[in-house]
Every structure is written in C-alpha cells, then in structure tokens.
Symmetry: C2
Subunit: 313 residues, 2 copies
C-alpha cells in the first residue's frame, strides 16, 4: 500500500521507518508546517534526517499531502479536543477521495465519531483506529474478535504516565509533584502533563471504546473525569496498609463513561506497574479477559497502525 503520513512526531516517524518492513511504500509525509512528497516512493530516512537538521521534512506544504498519490492516509497529528482539527478534516478529505484512513490521533473518533462514520458510509475507503486505545495492546481488534455484543463492560488503566506516577508514589512514598518532576526528567511525562494527569487522555480512550461498543453517540463531554493531581502521598500509604493501591481507572459500564482514581488490590490484575496499560473486557459468557502491555511509545503505536493497514488488505 502507498501511505501518506500526516504528522512526523514519534508515531508518524516510526510508521515511516517501519513501513517498508511491512511491505508498504511511503509517498508523502507532513509535519505541522512542511511536507515531502514523491509519488514513486519517498526516501523516508532522508526526509526524517532533513527534519532533524532543519526542523522541516521537505519543501511542500502539509495540505498538499492530501492531494498526493496514496492508498492509506495515516493520521498521526496531535489529538485535539472539540472540533478535533486538523485531524478531522484530513480524515474527511481522504474518505472523500475513497481512500482508507488509519488513525493514531484520538480526536476525530472520540469527538466526531458519528460524522466520521457518516463520511465512511459514503466512501470506498474505511476507517481504522486500533492504535488510539492502548497503544500496542490490540484492544479494539480483540473486541472485534470476541464480538462487540459479547462485551458487557470495559475497565482499565489506559494512561501510562498517570500509572507511572501513581506506581512511583506508592513504591517510594513520594508526593505527586516530586514524582511528576522525575517522570518529566525521564521523558515519561510531557512538560505540560495536563492531558495525562487530569484523566483527559484516558477519558478519550474510554469515549472511543463506548463509540465502538454502542455504535457511536459519545464525545468527551459525556465522560465523568477526575485526575490524579490531588492525591496526597499519604493516601497511597494508607491504601497500602490495607493491601490496596490507587490507580487511574477508566471504565465504560452501563453505557456510562467514568475516569478517576480508584482503590484496587495491590496484587490484583488492575495494579499494573510503571507505564504499562491493562484493559479488562467483561464478556457475556466467557468471564473476564485481561490484556496488558505497552500502552504508548512511537514504535508500539506504529506497530498498531501497521496492523490496521495490514487488515485493510
């Protein structure tokens, strides 16, 4: 397949680097203010080297990628809330040209799911987005595998940054601010960690899960969200005295979406440590299914994107 990649951050760059190993060709890649396009197959290494050296991947404009030759648009621009732009317009543009779209960007399918699906119905192209929930963990394809109607509830740890902070607070008896600084030093938390620590990122993933499970109708405003900023270190120590710990749990239960700190057993399935993610699928007749692994990272998320692309074939 010929791939056009919108976004040259960790995920976009990793998709570009791994594409040929999966038998695909990159014909275009854009960052926020430039693009490199070659209908005969781009030298992605050169484009990414140009970006490292000069800050831009090439001499074209990002928008020109939308008019380039490609079979699949990989939408890996940053997640935005509300109108989910520019990811939403990129998605619509590809569908209007009867091209497939594979999203790593959560915005369009969290905030404008019904509109995206409506455009998909009028297109020869299809929309896939396994990379948006759980990174390397194939949450959405597993739900497909076992059948959406067989899943009665979803619950899990869906943000690695928040989980790292809570794990470290518990293990080292440290305060939130102290551990956040450490996480930022390690590159686990961003300079502005709001999306992660306020629960927004986990909530967007839950919204996507709800849209998939119930056929649409949900946006971030439908989620009850509480973050981890206000948790005192002492709360984790009190929990530990009782064999418990605190995790930021997202859940889709009874058609409601909730994200917030919850007490969980210290040695229980949900108490994954570090940046791990875990998703529990409660099923109709087959009990509870747990899937855990790396929930973020360029290569991990790119692997999920490339899995989606292979399933389009």
């Amino acid at each position: 397949m010929r791939l056009a990649i919108m976004g040259a951050g960790a995920v976009g760059a990793s998709v570009a680097e791994l594409a040929s190993a999966y038998g695909h060709e990159v014909t275009a890649i854009a960052d926020s203010n430039s693009a490199a396009i070659d209908p005969n197959g781009l030298d992605t290494e050169a484009a990414l080297a140009t970006k490292r050296a000069s800050g831009t991947v090439g001499d074209d404009s990002p928008e020109s990628v939308l008019e380039a030759e490609y079979d699949v648009l990989v939408e890996a621009t940053p997640t935005t809330l509300g109108d989910a732009e520019p990811g939403y317009s990129h998605t619509v543009s590809a569908l209007e040209r009867d091209r497939h779209v594979v999203l790593a960007n959560k915005g369009p399918i969290a905030e404008r799911y019904d509109e995206v699906r409506a455009h998909e119905r009028n297109s020869e192209g299809r929309v896939s987005f396994d990379a948006t929930v759980g990174g390397a963990i194939p949450v959405l394809t597993t739900i497909d595998d076992i059948g959406r109607s067989n899943v009665t509830a979803v619950r899990g740890v869906l943000n690695g940054t928040a989980n790292f902070i809570l794990s470290r607070m518990a293990a080292e008896s440290l305060d939130y601010e102290h551990v956040l600084a450490e996480a930022q030093d390690l590159g686990v938390a961003e300079a502005d960690p709001t999306f992660d620590v306020d629960g927004t990122d986990a909530a967007l993933k839950c919204v996507i899960l709800a849209n998939v499970l119930f056929g649409g109708g949900y946006a971030l405003s439908d989620a009850a969200v509480e973050g981890i900023r206000e948790i005192p270190g002492a709360a984790l120590q009190l929990a530990a005295e009782d064999g418990q710990t605190i995790r930021l749990i997202g859940e889709v239960v009874d058609e409601e979406i909730r994200v917030g700190p919850r007490l969980v057993p210290e040695t229980g399935t949900l108490a994954v440590s570090g940046t791990q993610n875990i998703v529990q699928l409660q099923t109709e007749r087959a009990g509870r299914l747990n899937i855990s692994g790396r929930g973020a990272g360029g290569d991990e998320t790119a692997t999920a994107v490339l899995g989606d692309i292979n399933r389009l074939l």
Copy 2:
C-alpha cells in the same frame, strides 16, 4: 451458517445451546455413539434432553453427520494423540466436501497439522481453531492481529487444572495428592488427571502455537515436557520465602517447545491464580503483550468456537 457438531460434551453441547444466539442453525449433532440430524434445523434442546435422559442424542449414527447438510463442521470430540482420530478423519471429510471446520479438539492441529493444511489447500473450506489454545482467550486471533512474524516468543500458563493445583498448594501449604483430591471434588480436575498434570495438554497447546508461528512441522514428540506430580509442597514454601512461586509454564522460544514447572515472581504477571490462563507474546517492536482469562470451560470454549465461525463469514 448451518452447523454440524461432532461431540456432545461440555463444548459441543454449549455450542449447540448458543448457536442460535449467534445467528446460526444446528443441522446435526453427534456424541460418541449416536446422532440427531435435521436439515431444516435441529431442536437442540430436545436432542440434549434426550442425551441427559437416555445417554444418546438421537437415533442416527455419528458417521451419518459427516454426510448431513451443513456449512461448518464443529469438531469437539475428545483430543487424542498420535493419529488424532476420529477428529482428523472428521476434519478431512469436511474439507473434502468443501466445508469449513472449526476445531475445539487439539489433536488434528497439534499432531497432524501439515496434513490438515494440505487438505485445506485443496478445499474451498477453511480450518480455524482459536478455541484450542487458551479457551476464551483469543490467543491465535491476537497473533493474527499483530502479525505472526512480529511474535518472537510465546510463554504462558496454559492449563487451568495444573495452575489450580499449584496455586492451592502454595496458598494452603498442602501436598499435591491432597490438592488433587480437592480439585477432583470441585470438578476442576478429571478422575484421570494425567493429561493436565503431566503437562501434555499444555504441550499440545504449545505445539499448536509453534505450528501457527512457524508454518507447521511440529508434533507432540517435538516438545520437552515435564509435569507437576513430583513437586513437593516444601518446594513451594521455599520459593515463597524468596518471593517466588511455581507455575507450569509452556513456552515456544527459538523454535523449541518446552513445558515444565518454573519459578516465577509471586506477584509477577505469570503467577495467575486458580484456573486462570495467561499467555505472553513477546513482540519484535512492541514489547510484551499479556492476555489472561478463563482458559477452559464449556461456554468459554464454545464462545471461541462461535467467534471462529463468525470470522468465516
């Protein structure tokens, strides 16, 4: 789809009971010495009631099911070693009639994988067997999802009976014989537990994984297998003093298959408790993926069978 079900034990009966909820119709079901057939759709409740009352599902012979009207043969007769009969012949018969086969029976694809695939290549029918590894855990479909060539090793707890026994021995400081008797009382272990406690069942699952990952060539004789009968209760107590416990671990690593008791961290991912199963997939670029859940049970395995059937559509 019209289903013919060979085998009316826990799995076969559960497939028969759940089929209509998944939009399918059962046209035939056989136990080891009888069958009930109706090309217009069988009253499966009546057939299973007949079996409970009289020990047979109907007046036809089991073999006559192979000639009945159906789209998918569900092979749920007991797993046998060596020639894997009668499951193997049932599978071949269906493929020769250009029908699909969904197996819950591990024998044919553990012991005669290459022959089954050769028959499949000459058939319009396809062979699926997600139910054979991990029960309700979609291990094989997950491997498909992430791509076989991306999986570098598989390791896991693949037998719920052995895991129950080891969990109880550790938790209650009891001996093997004592816990085995308890497991038999609870219906967790069979009267003859050999397959489970000697590691054969876990080894067959590993052989199936190796066949899937490496395109065939493996049978039970290629596996190095050690069971749990000889583990003294004292070994579990010694392990616990060091924060460890013992689990029966199956692994497919470097094209080798090994099953045996291994020391694992007491609070680690592999130390699932009770009858739970867990499978760890080591991936090329996306770290380790863990999937856990109920590895056995009639409804659980039937759910996996019905998932395979839905994917045939």
